[in-house]
């Protein structure tokens, strides 16, 4: 796939503090590329450097192969930016905000009004079009901010924590809109601290911590790489099970490691493939009624925790504090 943005050895220092430390990555045309990391990992600083809102200490940025490091202004017509805070004009209505943002890109009045109405329709904000931005809910504000970044039909959309601090319904709508935008051809660069969001939306993800990229890969590869053994969980109807049954199970199937996960679940671990039918037959023969047997796969969260050493709960709490 063709790379639309390529970043080489990008660095940002604030005095003695290194916010972004020599990172390199590329964003392919048409993909959703995610930056996943905790607070102060360098996610927003990276976006700011890519969009011209922060000076670059070191490194290079290429757009379609052209070096734009020192001429980000020329690149701005092709990008849309949604910051982590909704930053439209409180006194203007939703419609006026969209028209104003379009005018900044030199779009003529007749065209910008049509575009504004289209976007209000897409983002389900038509009914609130003539209400002032300050009267919008957080979710509505975020949706209008995303709409405002699309008025000039950018090639790349930068989304900084798009669903942070908004309700579940709005978050879901926004995620669907992001998917729709991407399927319509917009390349998306997304930062998030929500692992589920990254997992659901992103084609590729970069784990970032303390200004450094730990690893970049697809969700599937991240999971495959940390998978050391196969795990099957066998759920049965609650009943009294003799502990010797587990010992028998382990002696009959020496390649497997069987243990109780809880009172009605047996966890089976193996380095190789697990053939479930003999285990089910054995348990059935011992009057145990099987409800479900499922293969447990490691999650992206497991991969993140393993690679970065950061617990996801800590990330969420940090963000909530913010």
């Amino acid at each position: 796939m063709e790379s639309i943005i390529e970043v080489k050895n990008l660095t940002k220092n604030y005095g003695k503090l290194t916010a972004v430390d020599n990172i390199s990555f590329s964003i392919n045309s048409g993909e959703i590329f995610g930056f996943l990391g905790p607070n102060a990992a360098g996610k927003t600083t990276t976006i700011n450097m890519l969009t011209g809102m922060a000076k670059i200490t070191g490194g290079k940025i290429f757009y379609k192969g052209n070096d734009i490091t020192n001429k980000i202004k020329k690149f701005q017509p092709y990008i849309g930016v949604v910051p982590d805070d909704s930053n439209l004009y409180e006194e203007l209505t939703g419609f006026e905000n969209l028209c104003f943002c379009a005018s900044l890109y030199g779009i003529l009045r007749s065209k910008r009004e049509v575009k504004a109405r289209q976007l209000l329709e897409i983002f389900q904000l038509s009914e609130a079009a003539n209400r002032r931005f300050k009267t919008y809910s957080k979710g509505m504000k975020r949706k209008l901010t995303i709409a405002a970044s699309l008025v000039h039909e950018p090639k790349i959309l930068f989304l900084d924590e798009p669903t942070t601090g908004i309700d579940v319904v709005s978050s879901r709508q926004i995620r669907n809109l992001i998917k729709k935008l991407n399927s319509d051809g917009t390349t998306i660069f997304l930062t998030t601290h929500y692992i589920e969001e990254a997992e659901r939306l992103c084609s590729r993800i970069a784990f970032i911590k303390s200004g450094k990229i730990i690893k970049i890969d697809t969700v599937n590869r991240f999971i495959e790489d940390i998978k050391e053994s196969n795990v099957v969980e066998v759920l049965f109807e609650p009943t009294h099970i003799d502990i010797t049954l587990l010992e028998k199970l382990n002696s009959i199937f020496p390649d497997l490691e069987c243990s109780f996960k809880n009172e009605n679940t047996i966890k089976v671990i193996s380095k190789g493939r697990i053939d479930i039918s003999p285990i089910v037959s054995f348990l059935s023969a011992n009057n145990i009624y099987i409800l479900e047997a499922k293969l447990i796969r490691p999650t992206l969260e497991d991969a993140f925790v393993k690679l970065t050493g950061i617990e996801m709960d800590i990330m969420k709490k940090e963000k909530e504090k913010k």
Binding site: M53, A54, L104, Y105, A148
Partner: protein
């Protein structure tokens, strides 16, 4: 064409959002009246309008433009809506130009209230209308740019207000409005000559009553130099402080 559309819409938005709000319009009308009343009470019964005409026009412009721009820009910075403008594909020069245009127009319109009162009610003579208008325009631009310089340095609205007063009040007393520069202590005079307002007031005085102290051409040239200097100083500061 694209830049022109952006410029015009930033100006329109600022006029609608800030300058044409009822409190600002009423402030623009009340303020010159208040100054005139102050002079009226100070002089007892009557005062010579030509003596205070230039002063009231200058103060209306200075207070109107610096207050508005310092506050509106700081407010937009605080609400982060200013980022929208920085992210737009327009040069910083055009952005600054469009942001100051609203305040300059506000200053010009503000100044015409005391001009109209002085001319129509007090029957004051104006010796040179062209120079009066030139002086008002240059003074509005230079005051607006002073306001912008303050706005770039302030992070909060209250800071902008405090910084503005820190500059404005000494300026009023040092620019020759109330006390002729020649009457000031010799060690203070150099300060008067580095204030752009001094030259703006001098142009106004010349256009109204020929009571200027510096050749008017020099006043105008120096005001233009101050405008250009403050414009690029503000752009330099925006790049230095806002795009870090």
């Amino acid at each position: 064409m694209k830049s022109l559309i952006a410029f015009w819409n930033i100006l329109l938005k600022d006029m609608k959002n800030y300058y044409l709000k009822p409190p600002n319009i009423s402030w623009g009308i009340i303020f010159p009246f208040a100054w005139m009343l102050m002079f009226f009470f100070k002089s007892g019964t009557a005062f010579k309008i030509e003596e205070i005409f230039a002063g009231i026009v200058a103060m209306s412009i200075l207070f109107g433009t610096t207050s508005m721009l310092a506050v509106t820009i700081t407010f937009e910075r605080r609400a982060r809506s200013f980022e929208r403008l920085l992210l737009a594909p327009i040069s910083t020069e055009l952005l600054v130009f469009s942001k100051i245009s609203g305040a300059v127009l506000f200053g010009i319109i503000n100044s015409f209230i005391p001009v109209l009162i002085s001319v129509l009610y007090f029957k004051s003579a104006v010796l040179n209308w062209y120079l009066l208008f030139t002086g008002i325009v240059l003074l509005s631009i230079v005051s607006t740019l002073l306001g912008l310089s303050i706005a770039v340095s302030a992070k909060e609205v209250f800071e902008a207000q405090t910084f503005s007063n820190f500059f404005r009040f000494p300026m009023i007393f040092l620019c020759g409005l109330f006390i002729p520069i020649a009457s000031l202590p010799i060690y203070i005079r150099p300060v008067s000559y580095i204030l752009p307002i001094t030259y703006g007031v001098d142009v106004l005085k010349y256009s109204i009553s020929n009571s200027n102290s510096i050749p008017v051409l020099i006043d105008i040239i120096l005001l233009i130099i101050f405008c250009v200097g403050l414009f690029y100083f503000s752009i330099f500061n925006i790049h230095k402080k806002w795009i870090v």
